[in-house]
Amino acid sequence: MKSIVIGVIGSDVHAVGNKIIEYTLENAGYNVVNIGVLSSQEDFINAAIETNASLIMVSSLYGHGELDCRGMRDKCVEAGIENILLYVGGNIVVGKQNFDEVKNRFTKMGFNRVYPPGTPIDQALGDIHQDLGE
């Protein structure tokens, strides 16, 4: 059973989606490590190392995602988990922006998959399945 770290980054307290992601991923057969809301990049990375996770799913709902996610891939590299998969989703920037540009920004930051607002977790299950290859 592969492990996935989930959580909500930065000063973000949106907890509802996070609880539902946990429930959905567990139902889909993954070992879910939920570090909850108000989590720092370090919290995510430490949890991933401890549990030997294959994927970190960062949620950011409140708009500061761009500020909060910068440098996360570098920190993974430093921590020795350079190959870990990084997903980000929720409402990851402030306001309604052209999503291609947003995706581009986060891809450059080193995220493997970037989801537009309103993508429920169920819609990402296919990607996870494919990327984790189970």
Binding site: G10, S11, A15, Y23, N91, V94, K96, P117
Partner: protein, 484 residues
Amino acid sequence: MELQNKKIPLEQFLKEREQVLSDWKTGSSPELNLDHAIAYSKSLPESKNLALLLMKAKKENRTLVQPRAGVPVLEQHIKLLQHLESCGADVLPSTIDSYTRQNRYLEAEKGIKESEELGRALLNGFPAVNHGVEGCKKVQESVHAPLQARHGTPDARLLSEIILASGWTSNEGGGISYNIPYAKSVPLETSIRNWQYCDRLVGYYEEHGVHINREPFGPLTGTLVPPSISSTVAICEALLAAEQGVKNITVGYGMGGNIVQDVAAIRTLQIMTERYLKEKGYHDVFVSTVFHQWMGGFPENEAEAAGLIAFSSTVAALSKATKMITKSPQESVGIPTMEANGYGVKESKYIINMLQDQQMVDSEKLRIEMNQIEAEVTCLMTCIYGAGEGDLAKGVVRAFEQGLIDVPFAPSKYNAGKILPARDLEGNIRILEFGRTCFSDEIKEFHRKKIQERADFQHRPISFQMTVDDVYSVGLGKLIGHKK
């Protein structure tokens, strides 16, 4: 010092104040001198005072309209508020960004700078503390309507000082409602104590002849909160505020979706808040209500979102809440543009005006729902006072600790998080799983029956999946969740 529901003595308050003001550089502004601030507040026209406006609206049986809005850069923020005012907003907000809410002023500073440089907002609100009294005053002086700070700050002491000294006449929040849904590891003792300070500050203004409105944050997590839970929190915060000298309180409620339950909730909230205040000896507190348009996940499509906004407004108008907080058609996507936000205001105001002379008709059904909420709130209030051995502040802390009161989906570790809500066959929000909440057996039986009816009708087991389906449903265009 042990937390208790007791007015903070003046000297103690003033001593603490020195420390609060030293938290960030803008705290040292001479405008924060209390004599100066009070004099300034008194110099402002009555029409800018929210406490007075609410009294007027309630007398006229009118519902005021207020959006949420805040952007990091001062000039942009002013432009935004002026636009919203031109769209018909009766009350103006300044929604504070999330770094400020966590007292991370350094990060907020960075956010302002980058927003200015990139020409787009990187913060999700207006960092009032960083802009200081000078900035906040400028905002206030650029508009005609009363201003209120809206945030979600467990420790809002410095923020409160700054906005009140700037002539803003209302502060949203409370020791419970700005902790449980907005924090993970802030003890309730701490946030309640901090909000006692904020309320004491308002008490000080009142003692010196300046009316200030206070508004507990009604919707909590905005997600399937049973009316009795949110009402109980609002009543507790009203009582805690009154003890510190607050005289003008607006208790709030986030729309659930069943019209009868929603109107019952607003009516009961008004009646019971007044009743508890009187019962506990606070005789001169003016109570009004605020109805929040749907606070859960919104539909993505803008036409559907516009529909939900007008539907919310219709219910608010029928409930005759004193104020209504609006949403925008872009709610599900992100912080709205100025135009989208104004659209929500214009649309909402139109409905409020159209329904000015109508209200929910009295009926047996409405009475039953009101009685139900009343019984549940009474039950919760009794056990909160019991847990505190008569002291409300202690009672709240212990009741949450023991899970006697429990808020669905809240991020705080000081919330039990065992309660699970779900809708019944008519879309009323009921309780599927009680956790350790101290509802009576009769109340539990009522909820169980209602949920069972739905399970039977939908041919499904009672489970968390029901709750999950209900979390998604309004965004997907139904009130009651269905199995996929």
